[in-house]
């Protein structure tokens, strides 16, 4: 293993993680999740009656996520309001979370999850999904299991876990490939995206790496949720 990461991490080492529950007192559930310099906060409102009425689904509840980057979360100010990118990430987040929610218990209802990125240094959608999963648990929404999300990177030919901004902009060799992956704690895939260049066989390796490191994320999420349980 001669590959050196700019911040000195091992190839399968995540940035220091922090997780905190109850960061938004007004919300029914809320959480913060941090990968190094990437900070996401998520708040859950609901389940509540869906308005307008024609949006109601009598077969199951609706999960509605809203991913938003705070204008000053990055170097070049982001224009406030939704963009094509944020619209897509919001939907991806819904798809990543819904499989573990027992959403059939809430016909005609909606569960709103608001995710805001306070500070960005790559892997923001993963941090957002991790925070949202914790916030949903905190809100007491029945869940089959937890989900944990991480972005696996391929820098030139080397796979690494939890891509930083520096690594995302990797130019040497085959450049950077970014693969955000979300897994349930039993190892089922609820979300994957990929940008870059990778062979079919190495992608399978990337999946194994994701499986390994999401276990660590799951522990952090679980620990934060347990702590709040003890306080009450």
């Amino acid at each position: 293993m001669t590959f050196k990461r700019q911040d000195g991490r091992k190839i399968d080492e995540l940035r220091p993680m922090k997780a905190k529950i109850g960061v938004v007192p007004n919300a029914d559930g809320s959480a913060m999740f941090q990968f190094g310099d990437t900070i996401a906060i998520a708040a859950v409102y609901g389940p509540k009656k869906m308005h307008p009425q024609h949006m109601q689904n009598p077969e199951k509840g609706t999960l509605r996520c809203n991913y938003n980057m705070i204008s000053f979360s990055v170097n070049d100010r982001i224009r406030p309001g939704p963009s094509r990118r944020s619209t897509e990430i919001s939907k991806i987040t819904e798809w990543a979370l819904e499989p573990v929610l027992m959403i059939k218990q809430f016909p005609n209802m909606v569960i709103d999850v608001h995710i805001n990125i306070l500070q960005a240094n790559a892997s923001t959608r993963c941090a957002g999904i991790n925070a949202a999963a914790m916030a949903l648990a905190h809100a007491g929404i029945p869940m089959k299991e937890m989900v944990s999300s991480v972005s696996i990177g391929k820098l030139d030919k080397q796979l690494v876990a939890d891509v930083s901004k520096y690594e995302e902009d990797w130019k040497e060799g085959e450049g950077a490939t970014d693969i955000p992956i979300t897994l349930t704690n039993s190892g089922k895939l609820t979300h994957i995206q990929l940008d870059g260049k990778i062979s079919f066989s190495q992608l399978k390796e990337a999946m194994e790496l994701a499986k390994k490191v999401t276990k660590e994320i799951h522990e952090i999420q679980k620990k934060a949720l347990k702590e709040i349980g003890e306080e009450q």
Binding site: W95, I179, G187, L194, D195, G196, K211
Partner: protein, 270 residues
């Protein structure tokens, strides 16, 4: 969330039962595409254009070019913008108004597939570093939605790019002379970035779903790859996948890419 009525549960369940026996309503095998028909040069005023039919699904894709300033992080490279519109004329499900998620996702998935594959040689689309570069607009329009717009749009984008000619440029006036095309093609790599989507219905996997099949699809993965190298991927919809299922999807995609590549080579040519 879905105000539009989709295929009835009865038909949906029948589709899945059939599929469990390896059969589809239209007699195709699970991993078989409908016939693909590609027509290029469908609009004279576009720099490049194509119409792609996959079965009854039809999309139009056009390429337009303009001179603009490069982005700060790529001063010596051309730009790419991909947008998609799901026209109300193409299905009772679509309405006028600002793009909804489906259209946004379609545009973004095709954008990433083309961009990340490095199919377009953007460094050759720079006129003056830091000041003037070509911007490529790829615009996708649905004409008739009978499922699998994603893959049709991907093929259409390649066909439109392949057949496009760069418009003439007046160096003195610093203006593009629209309507007059040069003989120059857009600089492209040989390998085609092929988008294909594998769907999971019950315990079975299919490619190229019809609209009814798409309605009962529980999850899908769109993969863009060229000659065995994946350049982009996106999982859509809410059903989770086990590792085995994910690997199965990769195997299907790898095989499908080869089949589609052969077809496209003869149909688009060069």
């Amino acid at each position: 969330m879905d105000p539009v009525r989709k295929v009835s549960n009865l038909t949906g369940n029948r589709i899945k039962e059939y599929l469990a026996e390896g059969k589809r309503f239209d007699g195709r095998k699970p991993e078989e595409f409908r016939e693909i028909i590609i027509e290029t040069g469908i609009s004279k005023n576009a720099e490049g254009s194509a119409k792609v039919k996959i079965g009854k699904t039809e999309v139009m894709v056009g390429v337009k070019m303009a001179i603009s300033e490069p982005y700060a992080d790529s001063p010596d490279k051309g730009n790419l913008m991909v947008t998609a519109e799901l026209l109300p004329l193409s299905s009772p499900r679509y309405e006028t108004g600002p793009p909804r998620f489906e259209a946004i996702e379609l545009g973004r998935v095709i954008d990433r597939g083309i961009r990340e594959s490095k199919f377009i040689e953007f460094e050759k689309l720079c006129l003056k570093e830091g000041e003037k570069v070509w911007t490529l607009f790829i615009d996708i329009y649905s004409l008739n939605d009978d499922g699998n717009l994603l893959d049709a749009a991907g093929i259409g984008a390649i066909a439109a790019l392949k057949t496009a000619k760069i418009p003439k440029y007046d160096e003195v006036e610093e203006k593009v002379i629209y309507g007059e095309l040069s003989n120059e093609s857009i600089p492209l790599k040989k390998e085609l970035p092929i988008s294909m989507t594998v769907h999971k219905l019950g315990d079975n996997f299919i490619v190229d779903p019809t609209l009814d099949e798409e309605d009962v699809s529980e999850t899908r993965i769109t993969i863009c790859s060229s000659e065995g190298v994946i350049s982009s991927m996106q999982k859509g919809e809410t059903k989770e996948l086990t590792s085995e299922e994910f690997n199965k999807i990769l195997d299907i995609a790898e095989k499908t890419e080869k089949d589609l590549f052969k077809q496209l080579k003869t149909k688009i040519g060069k």
